[in-house]
């Protein structure tokens, strides 16, 4: 039987890769768990920049940032203190800078530095993004590489 185009189209290729993020503000004792409103913008060597709605926290606040797998549908509520079993990683971070979003007045970019984290686990998470990027790079360049010999 001949092959079909649809056999090569998967839902997975349309899904976004990444993590869900929950935030617990240890300074103001509040939580923000609308992960669909949080976008990870940058993975720093020892920190992270996220896009988030305004007024969740202020410069200097201490936060606990919880990383969940993208497809996790949490069964347990984020506790007011302590560990969260649904998260694959949690870090303590301090808000170093808040930058207004260029077009959306209801969003800001939060620049945080980690104050307490598992360095190896963080490296592993960055590596996961790097692997995904490598898959993309490979697809772009492989088509041209029939001649490139280095």
């Amino acid at each position: 039987m001949s092959k079909l185009i649809s056999e090569f189209i998967t839902a997975g290729s349309f899904q976004r890769f990444g993590h869900k993020i929950f935030i617990r503000n240890e300074t103001s004792h509040t939580q923000f768990i609308k992960s669909e409103l949080i976008t990870i913008k940058e993975l720093k060597e020892n920190g992270i920049i996220i896009e988030i709605p305004i007024n969740i926290c202020q410069k200097g606040h201490n936060l606990t940032v919880f990383f969940l797998k993208q497809d996790t549908i949490p069964k347990i509520k984020l506790p007011d203190s302590g560990h969260y079993r649904e998260a694959i990683m949690q870090v303590m971070a301090k808000v170093e800078n808040i930058e207004m979003h260029p077009t959306d007045k209801l969003l800001v970019n939060l620049d945080m530095n980690f104050t307490q984290n598992d360095v190896q686990l963080w490296k592993k998470i960055i590596q996961q993004y790097a692997d995904k990027q490598e898959e993309i790079d490979k697809m772009l360049t492989d088509q041209l590489n029939t001649r490139v010999k280095r």
């Binding site: 185009i5 290729s13 349309f14 669909e36 940058e42 620049d111």
Partner: protein, 445 residues
């Protein structure tokens, strides 16, 4: 592979040397992202003085044409506007791509984004979140073939320069002469096919593309252009086969979904239709940029199911199409027609009434009114809803016809109906006689 790039490592000298005299333009929305990217670029040899930045399209375009930066790294969306046009500006400003390049940053980090970058012949696509080491990894991969270009590749760039400046005959000569420099000259053949297509020499174009395909069956540009050419020539079987080859090698760009579904329907690949239906039903929260294409695809599936009287799957596909349409007029119109042919506009009305229409474009809201008109026996409600939309400057001729005919049915004052007819004629003078006819029907009644 280690993510860390060591500028002092001997094997990295080639990159440091290459980038030492290259200028860059970083186009990003946020200040912090721009400074992170610039810092990263200095690690691979770029000089701080050669780094430009912009946070809006106008400034970026101006910098490209005046400063001619060799490389650009741009967010796909800058302050809500696509930066894609800048790619065209850049390639025309610096047609020799051995010394220039364009990297795009995308927030939608799905594999489907790759197809989009391939379409534009970008040097790389960097997906968010940004990370210095990951950016370096992508840039290095993207410039690999430019570091020590062969005579053939140099000739290809000469040809591209002539092609972009409109010197097609000169470009043809250059591409033909490049064939002597490389046995596996698939790019040259594809460029020739591209020029022949523009010159409307279609048999020659197809021959060139097919030759390229024999040399490299996975070169995206050939697959893309040849698939399109076959489709335009109505050679749907061959177009299907080329698109199959493309799907085997690359993720499918969401924008191509509607075309692929049409191709499957034309080629009677009914199993494809069922497969698409199943695949799309499993996508629960697609990226906003993908929703229109998915909606258009689902609307075509819904229409197809309605023509073969598969009501159940038709309704389900149309419901999903509606959910992802975001009120886009053309898609909604198609969804409405399919619901009409299934005789289930009641389902559509329910969908409308469970949706916050205030976020939709005006045209989408007018379709709600027509659906309400088709389904509701409550004349008062229909007229009130119509008047509300008219007050918000949402109107079309059919809306006036519906309000007028309902008003006549309700025996509203003639003055009201006459005013409504005058207003309709003011906005749609070309249909004045039709509105008059409605008015005349009062006296007949």
């Amino acid at each position: 592979m280690s993510l860390y790039f060591d500028p002092k490592d001997k094997k990295n000298k080639i990159y440091i040397d290459y980038f030492e005299n290259k200028s860059w333009l970083v186009i990003e929305n946020s200040t912090s992202a721009r400074s992170s990217i610039k810092k990263t670029l200095t690690q691979i040899g770029a000089k701080t003085a050669n780094l430009l930045e912009a946070d809006n399209i106008t400034e970026a375009e101006n910098l490209i044409t005046t400063q001619k930066p060799h490389y650009i790294i741009a967010n796909k969306m800058i302050q809500g506007t696509s930066s894609l046009d800048l790619f065209e500006v850049h390639i025309k400003t610096l047609p020799n791509r051995l010394k220039a390049g364009f990297f795009i940053i995308t927030e939608a980090n799905s594999l489907a984004e790759v197809a989009w970058a391939l379409d534009y012949e970008m040097d790389g696509i960097i997906s968010m979140p940004l990370n210095g080491a990951i950016i370096i990894q992508s840039i290095i991969k993207g410039v690999q073939r430019k570091l020590e270009p062969t005579a053939y590749l140099k000739k290809i760039e000469d040809g591209r320069t002539s092609y972009l400046s409109g010197e097609l005959d000169k470009a043809i000569e250059q591409f033909k002469s490049s064939l002597l420099l490389e046995k596996n000259a698939f790019e040259a053949m594809t460029f020739l096919g591209q020029i022949y297509t523009e010159q409307n020499l279609l048999p020659e174009a197809i021959e060139a593309f097919e030759k390229s395909l024999l040399l490299n069956s996975s070169y995206f540009k050939t697959l893309n252009l040849l698939g399109l050419l076959y489709y335009q020539q109505k050679d749907y079987k061959k177009s299907y086969d080329i698109n199959l080859l493309m799907a085997e090698h690359y993720p499918t760009a969401p924008e191509r979904i509607p075309e692929l579904i049409r191709l499957s329907i034309i080629n009677k690949k009914y199993e494809d239709i069922s497969n698409y239906y199943k695949i799309f039903q499993t996508i629960k929260s697609p990226a906003p940029t993908m929703q229109n294409s998915l909606s258009a695809g689902l609307a075509i599936l819904g229409k197809y199911f309605s023509t073969i009287n598969d009501t159940e799957r038709g309704i389900e596909a149309l419901k999903s199409a509606f959910a992802f349409s975001n009120g886009k007029y053309e898609i909604l119109k198609s969804i409405v027609h399919s619901f009409e042919s299934l005789n289930r506009t009641d389902v559509l009305l329910e969908l409308f009434e469970n949706t916050d229409l205030s976020l939709w474009p005006k045209e989408g809201q007018s379709i709600y009114f027509h659906t309400l008109h088709l389904n509701s026996s409550d004349d008062q409600k229909v007229i009130q809803e119509g008047e509300k939309l008219l007050k918000s400057n949402i109107r079309d001729p059919q809306m006036y016809r519906d309000i007028i005919s309902r008003s006549i049915k309700m025996k509203r004052k003639t003055g009201y109906i006459e005013n409504m007819v005058l207003e309709a004629q003011k906005h749609y003078p070309e249909q004045a006689s039709e509105f008059d006819a409605l008015l005349n029907s009062i006296s007949k009644a």
